[in-house]
Symmetry: C2
DNA sequence: TGTTGTTGGATACCTTCGCTATCCATGTTA
DNA sequence: TAACATGGATAGCGAAGGTATCCAACAACA
């Protein structure tokens, strides 16, 4: 498959493909000669994945590169993949080094009895939200998050259940990535709809 | 309060405040003379809210403007606020007019028995995720989303519970905004941590 | 054996976004 | 009155994510 075929089948322009190659998102094709390279189905698949991460989820190019690299390096080990590859995604851009993690985050995790790596970016993301709410004058008691956390636990169980019946390690890794990252906008959308519905329900009761 | 005081107390530079005024995110102060304006606590509060929406949640300036306008217009009515003001937030940028909503989204909502407005952007967001997964060759059965939706229902109930005991309508509106929008990164962070924990737990069992 | 068109690779450029810096006339304040 | 601050307008900047152009090497057909 030539680059132009790759472009046609993926719907991504040749120049953009070249850009992704340059940025290291897409591995180079097999060089046939000085000005000829061959691409295969793997490249096509990878390219579609890139578009989904950047376009649907809105990841930055550099974050996408980190995620894909982690995916390649730890394809076989779902645990490492989830903890490390997905850990490289910053939900909040710039971890805001200046903000020390409030004790609340540690307290919450301890209360939940969770094992969460100390350097997990999710800790920083949570910390920043709490700090921000406090600055706004509407602080959130960390205990308020407990019911949310229990629901997150159940969500995570559903997530991992879906990986159980898959055999191919590479497929497990890719599926895990899609389920965690690409599903995020969908989960938020479900929450929005549920809020609308619940709000309507409560109003109707009055 | 002068603009410089507003700057000092909010930590936002004067030039940036001017930018927000220009962009219509922040209402103008009370004009004292041709080159003098007075700002109050409301402005400070609003400014902090703007920073939180843009900085923490990563909303674009124009989206933030839409959200704040909706907040002002329907401050008293939580139902309208959630359905309309929050509806104006695009989880996925560019609703992708070209993609018609798959029948699956309608089927899911019907199965759930939810009342969701036909034009809710959350529908489009969900639709795009499903379309994207199908393009990637790993389609998601809509029934797979049912457990997630039931969890979203419970989350929404927790959300609305927290608004019950607040009296001031303006405060309800602002709190609703914070709980839905600003809490989103926190909820995703909880899910990430729960996944890490659940993955560790399952591996330990082997 | 041309000659025409395509390919990969490099480089420069473009557009949008979110600020930021500079100007300047008008005010305030010491 | 002199020095400095303020509000408002305009222009510019830096990063991000592409896009357009150029060019030498090559393939493939006549």
């Amino acid at each position: 498959m030539r680059m132009s075929d790759l472009s046609r089948r993926s719907g991504v322009s040749v120049t953009t493909i070249k850009y992704y190659l340059r940025e290291g998102l897409l591995p180079a094709g097999r060089q046939l000669s000085a000005t000829q390279a061959e691409y295969d189905e793997q490249h096509l698949r990878r390219l579609r994945l890139i578009r989904a991460l950047i376009g649907v989820r809105g990841l930055s190019v550099s974050t996408t590169r980190d995620v894909l690299r982690a995916l390649d390096e730890h394809a076989g080990d779902t645990h490492i993949l989830l903890g490390l590859a997905l850990g490289s995604i910053r939900i909040v851009e710039e971890p805001e080094e200046g903000t020390p993690e409030p004790a609340e985050v540690g307290a919450l995790i301890k209360e939940l009895g969770w094992q969460v790596h100390q350097s997990a970016p999710a800790r920083a993301a949570l910390a920043e939200t709490l700090t921000s709410l406090r600055t706004l004058g509407t602080p959130l008691e960390w205990r308020t998050l407990l019911p949310y956390a229990r629901l997150a636990e159940q969500t995570a169980a559903v997530d991992l259940d879906q990986l159980d019946w898959i055999d191919d390690p590479l497929e497990v890794a890719e599926r895990a990535l899609l389920l965690t990252v690409l599903l995020e906008p969908a989960l938020l959308a479900l929450r929005r709809m549920a809020q609308e519905n619940e709000s309507a329900r409560r109003h109707a009761e009055d």
